[in-house]
């Protein structure tokens, strides 16, 4: 092909660039951007924390409960947290507008708390986290999730066995 033909084609087709920031920039729906966290869905399993390579996610035990912290400025948008989260409590949105003045640096974080509660069955102090859905058949209903949230690990196990009697291992 002749390079002049290419010039002519480019001339007739117009520019390939977009006018951002003066116009909208194309964003594919699957873009892996800013992390979003859905506290009620979190089981507190800390899988996301363990797979996060830059250490952008941190859980801390506080007197009030399990504190979740996620720093957008440390995140490398790898999506591993999203991939290994059993409940999609942590997902990546297609929002890539993360530029911000340095003064707002400390606002670029997600701070949430999974509070302690008293087990509704035995009264033990326990985390009000969502139940782990892995291997649960049929899946939890919304009411069941709320019911399990207020149970301690031991009572959850019992309730799960009662829920699916044939779920317990048979010898």
């Amino acid at each position: 092909m002749n390079i002049l033909k290419l010039f002519y084609r480019n001339l007739t087709q117009g520019p390939s660039t977009v006018a951002f920031p003066f116009g909208p920039a194309w964003t594919p729906p699957k873009l892996r951007g800013r992390i979003r966290f859905d506290l009620p869905a979190c089981t507190g399993c800390r899988a996301c924390e363990q797979v996060c390579a830059p250490g952008a996610i941190r859980f801390d035990k506080t007197p009030e409960g399990l504190r979740f912290m996620m720093w957008h400025n440390s995140c490398v948008f790898c999506g591993l947290c999203n991939f290994y989260c059993p409940t999609d409590a942590i997902v990546q949105s297609d929002d890539w507008h993360l530029a911000h003045p340095t003064a707002r640096m400390y606002e670029m974080a997600i701070r949430e708390l999974i509070p302690y509660t008293a087990c509704s069955a035995c009264g033990t102090k326990t985390l009000a986290s969502a139940p782990n859905p892995v291997g649960v058949e049929p899946p939890f209903s919304a009411e069941e999730i709320e019911q399990f949230r207020h149970l301690c690990p031991g009572c959850r196990k019992k309730a799960l066995e009662e829920r699916t009697p044939n779920h317990a291992p048979t010898e």
């Binding site: 390079i3 290419l6 363990q50 797979v51 991939f83």
Partner: protein, 361 residues
């Protein structure tokens, strides 16, 4: 004619990567080359031993931007070998798709830079515009323009539905048509030919001696491609054409990359056509990795990439070591640069598609 010793690099306007050459020149001609390394050492091999198996999928992806899919893939293959994990067939095909998408983008990038170094910036911008379509593919299918995050231990993290396959095929058709035109341009354009034919020659015998890999080897007539010699993922079920050229000059290396870009497009089409159904990963639960060691290899855009992983009792690897293609190829620069003109240094260095960030990690 007077003799000088001149430094080129590590920071130099014409070099894309921080390499340092100490050149003894006689007038315009290079008499002797010294290559000094170590300017972008980041200690990643050490960092890998400070992170667990899963975090390292992300860390290894950041060793190199253009081969960013090959590193986690070789790493994952080594871990899978240690743990005896079998990657599901659909994931094997999807791994090949990711590999080839990256190969097209990487090869077009290098060929574009060649046009820029020749001083033909209109062509540079055109090739980059074509490559931009592949960047759109990466963004749309994988969610990121460079670190596509395709791999996980035991499989892949992405999937393509019918709509995605349609979109990919449509983009591939467009890119393929453009690459055909680009090949024609590089084959006939006087400015390109004048600056690349017979420049930076690596004769076949020297190529064998240096153990060069990838397009550098194939442009010197060495028929060596890991996708054929030791197929991994789905390559044993795909029809891979290996291109070779006899001359070993800058032009041959560029042409090999362009031919391989077309072959890669063909391979993606084959994968999308034959894509089996089924799971895309062995298990969504994180598998436990026993102690052990393994080696895995794959054909990165720049050539054969080798990973060695040793796991102990801890979830963090005891040792991860990689042999990157540029390490084999940059030694050959001594031969390519010998008797070359100073003005051709940048073109010759670029022709091995050096990746210093992974060589010095």
């Amino acid at each position: 004619m007077s003799n000088f010793t001149i430094p080129v690099g590590p920071l130099h306007v014409a070099l894309e990567e921080p390499m340092y050459f100490r050149l003894d020149v006689q007038g315009e001609t290079i008499a002797h080359v010294d290559i000094h390394a170590g300017h972008v050492h980041r200690g990643i091999e050490y960092l890998v031993t400070k992170r667990n198996v899963f975090q390292n999928v992300v860390l290894t992806e950041r060793v190199c931007s253009l081969c960013s899919n090959s590193h986690p893939q070789a790493y994952a293959m080594a871990i899978e070998r240690i743990a005896g994990i079998v990657v599901p067939p659909r994931a094997q095909y999807l791994r090949a798709v990711a590999d080839e998408v990256k190969r097209v983008a990487s090869h077009l990038f290098n060929v574009a830079i060649l046009a820029h170094l020749v001083g033909f910036d209109a062509l540079f911008m055109h090739v980059m515009e074509v490559r931009e379509r592949m960047q759109d593919v990466k963004e749309s299918v994988f969610g990121n323009r460079m670190d596509i995050g395709a791999n996980a231990i035991g499989g892949v993290r992405y999937d393509i539905d019918a709509q995605g396959i349609g979109y990919l095929n449509q983009q591939l058709d467009a890119i393929d048509a453009e690459v055909v035109e680009i090949i024609d341009l590089y084959r006939t354009n006087g400015s390109i030919l004048g600056r690349t034919r017979g420049i930076g020659v690596l004769p076949h015998a020297d190529a064998v001696d240096c153990g060069v890999v990838g397009p550098v080897a194939r442009a010197a007539g060495i028929d060596y491609d890991l996708r054929v010699k030791a197929p991994y993922t789905a390559y044993d079920r795909l029809d891979v054409t290996v291109h070779t050229l006899p001359d070993g000059d800058v032009w041959s290396r560029a042409m090999i990359r362009l031919y391989e870009a077309r072959t890669a497009i063909g391979l993606i089409r084959q994968c999308l056509r034959d894509l089996p159904d089924g799971p895309t990963i062995d298990s969504r639960e994180r598998p436990s990795i026993p102690a052990g060691e393994a080696i895995a290899r794959c054909e990165a855009p720049r050539g054969e990439l080798i990973y060695y992983v040793r796991m102990g009792d801890s979830p963090k690897p005891e040792r991860v070591k990689w042999r990157v293609p540029s390490f084999m190829n940059w030694d050959a620069l001594r031969i390519m640069l010998k008797e070359a003109k100073i003005a051709d240094i940048a073109i010759i260095v670029n022709s091995i598609d050096p990746c210093i960030s992974c060589t010095e990690r």
